[in-house]
């Protein structure tokens, strides 16, 4: 049995979301034209999350993808909270004061972020008060610290990542009188999430990455062809520097046990992540929190299990690696995606497929008859073939969807094979994860005329 093309489309398009930046916002022309985003679950429920928002009190736009593991709780929390931490880190002292005064006197708060969300991208209502209090504590500290210096984006990103992870950890240690919230903060802390976040402000692009999601820039060469420029490094066993870093942070005696089977302590694929307190807390702290925690937590074998060779925690950090890139006219788009995409597709192909999709130009050499002997029938066949190759583009209104279609459906010739696509999408839930991972993609398109 096969899914019909409309059925395939309805699965592929269920989570797609597009946002076009209003051409002129009254102040300045944005360097971002807009973005397309989509995700395809393999886990049920999906463990990936994504976020996008415009900073309202400072300039710039934030976009991120988050790959959760051991559940989706941590990825969910990070997707809700991280951008607030970043935005607050970027705020000048006066604005922080203004916000704090407003909260203090019960006045309306200046909006900090304008979110661009798909209806499925939900925020937890129950935890909002808790999250808000933590965030407020953070800005109060920033106010007290008042360094007087202008905010450096790189520093702000690093601080925000670390602070949020710290808050996640603290909230789990402190607990909450509300049993639902208490269980929630524990689930957040015991699950984990990687994050890959872009901050775009005019020509200044910062990528903050923690874990093995990836940011890639699509560059159009002078001859019109497409190439990829990596703007993040994977934090996993394939990254020598990363393995080096982990080894540096622990005694030589642990050298052999730190990375086993390409995993941290033989368990965890990403070498940096939010949450995952099992790799951060001391054994005593883990035991204490689990014992005092709710029964559900006690019954969970995974949380109770202490990683082997666990001697000198923390083994894991949420500190991001930040890369700065000044956008050039040839930089046409940015792809942020979780490892689900990068496992199936080479970045060069990603650059080409998105590039051709966005420009509507398919880099097929034009046919010229020249002096060759070609019959009408032969030409007809040739043209039909060429048309089939590009026809898949027209089905998608969303670059991310188009990319997923190729990632899941491509055959060995690099064209979308409907049969394959249909098979991959109709896998039963329990099998899906064996063939593919959750996939979350955000494609940001730049306005070359502004850059």
């Amino acid at each position: 049995f096969y899914l019909t093309p409309p059925q395939v489309n309805s699965i592929l398009k269920a989570n797609e979301y597009s946002f076009k930046v209003p051409e002129f916002d009254g102040k300045n022309v944005s360097s971002v034209l807009g973005f397309d985003s989509n995700q395809l679950p393999a886990n049920a429920p999906i463990e990936d999350r994504r976020s996008a928002a415009t900073c309202l009190q400072t300039r710039g736009m934030l976009l991120g993808v988050f790959d959760g593991h051991a559940g989706c709780a941590c990825a969910q929390a990070v997707s809700e909270r991280l951008f607030y931490y970043i935005a607050v880190s970027l705020l000048p002292h006066e604005t922080l004061l203004e916000i704090e005064n407003a909260v203090e006197s019960g006045r309306a708060l200046l909006p900090i972020l304008q979110w661009h969300k798909h209806p499925n991208d939900y925020f937890s209502k129950e935890a909002s008060k808790l999250y808000f209090n933590s965030l407020r504590t953070y800005w109060q500290e920033l106010i007290d610290l008042n360094s007087g210096e202008t905010t450096d984006v790189k520093e702000a990103l690093v601080n925000a990542f670390k602070r949020l992870d710290n808050d996640i950890s603290l909230e789990a240690q402190v607990g909450d009188p509300n049993s639902f919230l208490n269980y929630l903060v524990l689930r957040v802390a015991f699950s984990g999430a990687t994050a890959c976040v872009a901050h775009v402000d005019g020509v200044d692009l910062h990528i903050a990455n923690t874990g093995d999601s990836r940011a890639m820039l699509g560059v159009q060469e002078e001859d019109g062809s497409w190439s990829a420029l990596n703007l993040s490094y994977d934090h996993n066993a394939q990254n020598e520097h990363e393995v080096e870093r982990v080894k540096m942070e622990h005694p030589k005696s642990e050298e052999k046990t730190l990375v086993k089977q390409d995993r941290l302590l033989g368990l965890l694929m990403p070498f940096r992540a939010f949450g995952d307190v099992k790799f951060k807390w001391s054994i005593e702290l883990q035991k204490r929190v689990i014992e005092s925690g709710p029964d559900q937590l006690n019954d969970n074998e995974y949380t109770k299990f202490i990683p082997p060779n666990y001697h000198t925690p923390p083994y894991l950090t949420a500190e991001p690696e930040v890369i700065y890139h000044r956008l050039r006219p040839q930089d046409k788009f940015l792809v942020l995606a979780t490892d689900g995409l990068w496992e199936t597709m080479h970045r060069q192909d990603v650059a080409r497929i998105v590039g051709e999709y966005l420009t509507g130009v398919h880099h097929q050499q034009p046919i010229a008859v020249g002096g060759y002997k070609v019959t009408l029938g032969q030409m007809h066949g040739l043209l039909a073939e060429r048309r089939a190759r590009i026809s898949s583009v027209f089905e998608d209104q969303n670059a991310a969807t188009h990319l997923i279609r190729h990632a899941v459906g491509n055959n060995e010739f690099g064209t979308v094979d409907h049969e394959r696509l249909s098979k991959m999408l109709s896998l039963p839930e329990e099998l899906a994860r064996m063939y593919r991972d959750d996939m979350t993609i955000t494609v940001v398109q730049f306005n070359s005329h502004v850059i």
Binding site: P366, I367, V369, T375, L376, G377, H380, L383, R387
Partner: protein, 882 residues
């Protein structure tokens, strides 16, 4: 001139051996020739300078010189016949839906046929005939309509079965065809050689031809052409003719004063093949498959096939020269749908070897009709361009009409549908043109059902009420860029269904319009008629009255507050415009004309009014919103809103008064409705439009008021036998011929334009007569509907064509309006048409080959309109326009 001619002939000889189709690939020959010195200097002055040496420019030169004008210079930026003309597919086809275009194509065909004999230049003329195929019944209907027009023009033409088509052309696959039209006299010709032949003949007649000379701009002084600047020096001239094809737009914009020529080029592709194993005969008919969007002709034993794709590629010509345009890329991927259509139509061609895919730009216009005539702003600046890919078919006839226009002041046919003055500056935006031509080019092949509308370039000019009306279900059409309501879809109707079902039969809006008409008859309706052209003419003394008395045939010396319906006639008594004029004061007049008169009427008045600073004319079209309140209860609505008695005693018919409506003051109320129904038109300063509309709708509620559109208006006016200008009336129709003697005051005490011609007609009678036909045996539900252009037969003989038609909801019959002529049975000579001739005949109207009996009437039904409460007999048979 003699030396010039020798040079040209040698050029022709060279071309006769080289300018075959294979010549296309070796364009370096023409570039290498550019170094050649110019043998002849440009003259310092000439009567006429023609810019463009393609088929159009040479045709104009040919016809001007034939008509006796000798002092003519033709300038060509490259080589003669080397632009679009050279790439032309060479098909001369007379199967055209617009009868004027059909006449031009027929003339061209006859001209080209004898051209070789006349000039000695081999034109390659072969009478192959053409077969137009129909894949659907609707297509067959449209072919049958064309066939009806061709037959009455005396052009042989036949509707044939698919099998007969297969017999005429062995390669056609007929399995998906329902029928075809065969036109045996259509021809193939080398357009480049035709152009050279025309140039040769013109040259013999004294026309000087200069190649590789480009016009940089046209010099204008006091609104007249004075000369041209070229890259080889200036030439003084009285007349300039812009035949620059796809460059016409830019040339028009290059002068000191802009001449808007709205056209835009698109890439056009066709395919050339090597000969078949058994080469195709050169007399094999050309095949046109409009449903497949392609044409196929025999070419050197192989075929030439091109088409009009759904997704044309517009082309920017700015700053590019002819050579660059000629080197356009072949784009096979773009051609793929047309190639598929070709192989579907002729599967046996699979194994045929490709020679070349030719990319040749063609220019298209906003309404798919070519552009001809004199600039409304620059005297002596003539234009002939925008051939919509039919330059060869139209070239001969169009050149003849333009030459007649220049020499005689007007062509021998009514060419208003092609007149440059149908456009204004509002159609000259590049963006508009680019969007519109992308719609126009596919339309070449699309089925044109009655009352289709353009979809692109819309919502340019709108009434201030547009959004209000749109929200109430208005469906829109466009005239001269102005959005006008066709009808209102009542709430609850499926909006998607409407507009989709395009048909030659009863349309889906039938009941909707019926309800609107009923409301006009029984209660009151509002129609937004803001698109009308409105001028104010005033003077310090008597100049306005005196000038208008001279320009208009009716007597305008009426008491202040009266409205006069009158024609603005030419010397021959024909209608240049048909309008209503209100006398606002002793010295000022308010003139209302049809929407598309904005440019033409302005130009006419400008050139005919005395140059007197005390006489001013202003275009106030944009200042007023016009609401037409039609129906017996209009009087109640208006009197309640104005607290003024509006009955006939206080406000007689054809009366105009400024009054207040609601809170708004200064509303010009006129007791006319353009339909013969009782009611008023309100001319409202635009800032009051919404207020007055709201007041009228609120107050009207208790009288059953509703919105209505132009379709209802048309039904009303046609059943009342009102003619309208641009559709029924034109520059070749006089008031005497359409029963409007009462609008002509021959004895008004002073001379007026057209008076002599009308006097003569009054004495000697008229040669055509506007007649109303009521279809007798026509079933509205199941028969094809008339549109316009249907042939009229009297006692089995062709006597004329319809000009408009509508279903009359009152008569419950179709009504057609049209002109009846009287041709002598033996000689074909035109005879005087008498009332008896009209009344004593049995009439039939031919709709797509099927004839319906019709009753002819010279006067409208009066007994049917017993509901009439007011005595506006004057208006009853007066006038109407769309």
């Amino acid at each position: 001139a003699a030396r010039m001619f020798l040079r040209l002939l040698s050029g022709v000889r060279w071309r006769m051996t080289n300018l075959k189709w294979r010549g296309l690939t070796c364009s370096q020959r023409s570039t290498s020739n550019t170094a050649e010195p110019h043998p002849v200097a440009l003259p310092a002055q000439a009567q006429v300078v023609i810019c463009g040496g393609g088929i159009i420019g040479t045709s104009v030169a040919y016809h001007l010189s034939k008509m006796g004008w000798k002092d003519i210079v033709l300038l060509e930026q490259g080589r003669l016949a080397a632009g679009s003309t050279r790439f032309c597919a060479g098909i001369v086809s007379t199967a055209r839906p617009v009868s004027l275009e059909l006449k031009m194509a027929d003339y061209s065909n006859k001209l080209y046929e004898q051209l070789e004999q006349e000039t000695g230049v081999n034109t390659g003329y072969v009478k192959t005939g053409s077969i137009s195929l129909a894949q659907t019944q609707d297509r067959l209907i449209s072919l049958k309509r064309i066939a009806s027009s061709l037959k009455v023009m005396g052009i042989p033409c036949e509707i044939i079965t698919p099998k007969q088509a297969a017999q005429l052309h062995p390669l056609i696959n007929i399995h998906d065809l329902v029928g075809a039209m065969y036109v045996p006299e259509d021809a193939l010709v080398s357009s480049a050689n035709v152009s050279l032949a025309l140039a040769t003949a013109a040259s013999r007649n004294g026309v000087q031809i200069h190649e590789r000379t480009s016009v940089s701009h046209v010099s204008i002084h006091k609104g007249r052409v004075t000369g041209v600047e070229t890259d080889r020096g200036p030439i003084q001239c009285q007349y300039f003719v812009n035949c620059a094809g796809q460059w016409a737009y830019e040339l028009g914009h290059s002068g000191e004063e802009v001449v808007n020529i709205p056209l835009h080029a698109c890439e056009h592709f066709y395919l050339l093949t090597h000969p078949l194993k058994e080469p195709l005969a050169s007399n094999l008919p050309t095949v046109v498959d409009p449903d497949g969007r392609i044409y196929i002709r025999n070419w050197q034993g192989g075929i030439l096939s091109g088409g009009f794709e759904k997704n044309p590629k517009p082309l920017f010509t700015e700053g590019r020269n002819q050579l660059e345009i000629q080197n356009l890329q072949e784009d096979w991927d773009h051609f793929e749908p047309l190639l598929s259509a070709l192989l579907r139509r002729m599967p046996d061609l699979e194994a045929l070897q490709i020679m070349q895919l030719v990319n040749c730009p063609e220019s298209f216009t906003p309404d798919m009709r070519c552009i001809m005539g004199e600039s409304p702003t620059v005297r002596g600046y003539f234009v002939l361009a925008g051939m919509n890919s039919a330059g060869l078919s139209y070239g001969g006839g169009a050149g003849k009409y333009l030459a007649e226009w220049m020499v005689n002041g007007y062509p021998s046919e009514n060419v208003w549908p092609l007149d440059l003055k149908r456009f204004g500056s509002l159609q000259s935006s590049r963006t508009f043109l680019r969007h519109r031509v992308m719609e126009v080019m596919p339309l070449m092949c699309d089925l044109k059902v009655p009352r289709w509308d353009f979809q692109t370039g819309r919502q340019l000019r709108t009434s201030p009420l547009y959004d209000r009306l749109d929200a109430q279900g208005a469906r829109w059409m466009e005239k001269h860029g102005f959005e006008r309501v066709k009808y209102f879809v009542p709430p609850g109707k499926d909006l998607l269904d409407l507009d989709r079902s395009k048909t030659f039969y009863k349309p889906d809006w039938f009941d909707i319009v019926g309800a609107e008409v009923k409301c006009c008859k029984e209660a009151v309706c509002v129609i937004d008629m803001s698109s009308f052209t409105k001028f104010e003419i005033s003077s310090t003394g008597n100049q306005a009255l005196e000038s208008l008395q001279y320009l208009f045939s009716n007597d305008l010396d009426v008491p202040v507050g009266h409205v006069v319906h009158t024609g603005m006639l030419n010397e021959k008594g024909g209608y240049e415009n048909d309008c209503s004029i209100a006398r606002l004061s002793k010295r000022s007049f308010f003139m209302i004309s049809p929407t598309d008169q904005q440019v033409h009427c302005w130009a006419w008045l400008k050139s005919h009014l005395p140059n007197d600073s005390n006489l001013t004319m202003e275009d106030v079209t944009w200042k007023y919103t016009a609401l037409n309140l039609i129906g017996p209860r209009a009087v109640d609505v208006l009197s309640e809103l104005s607290y003024a008695p509006m009955t006939a005693e206080h406000f007689p018919s054809l009366f105009c008064k400024e009054m207040s409506v609601g809170y708004a003051n200064g509303i010009r109320v006129m007791s006319i409705t353009h339909t013969g129904e009782p009611g008023f038109v309100l001319y409202i300063p635009i800032e009051y439009a919404l207020h007055v509309y709201n007041e009228v709708m609120n107050m009207g509620q208790k009288y059953g008021i509703r919105n209505a559109g132009y379709y209802a208006l048309r039904s009303l006016r046609i059943e009342k036998f009102f003619a309208f200008w641009g559709q029924d009336l034109d520059a070749f129709t006089t008031p005497m011929e359409c029963g409007r003697e009462f609008q002509v005051k021959l004895e008004k005490g002073m001379q007026f334009v057209g008076q002599e011609a009308l006097l003569e007609q009054k004495q000697n009678g008229v040669y055509k007569r506007f007649t109303m036909f009521i279809l007798e045996d026509h079933d509205t539900d199941t028969d094809l509907w008339p549109w316009w252009g249907e042939p009229i037969f009297r006692n089995g003989r062709y006597v004329g064509k319809t000009t408009s038609s509508a279903y009359s909801y009152t008569l419950e019959r179709h009504v057609c309006l049209g002109f009846v002529q009287h041709f002598d049975e033996k000689t074909g000579e035109e005879l005087v048409v008498t009332t008896d001739f009209i009344n004593q005949g049995d009439y039939e109207i031919d709709i797509a080959g099927q004839r319906f009996q019709a009753k002819a009437k010279l006067y409208p039904f009066s007994s049917l309109f017993t509901q009439r409460r007011r005595k506006d007999e004057v208006e009853l048979s007066s006038y109407q326009r769309e």
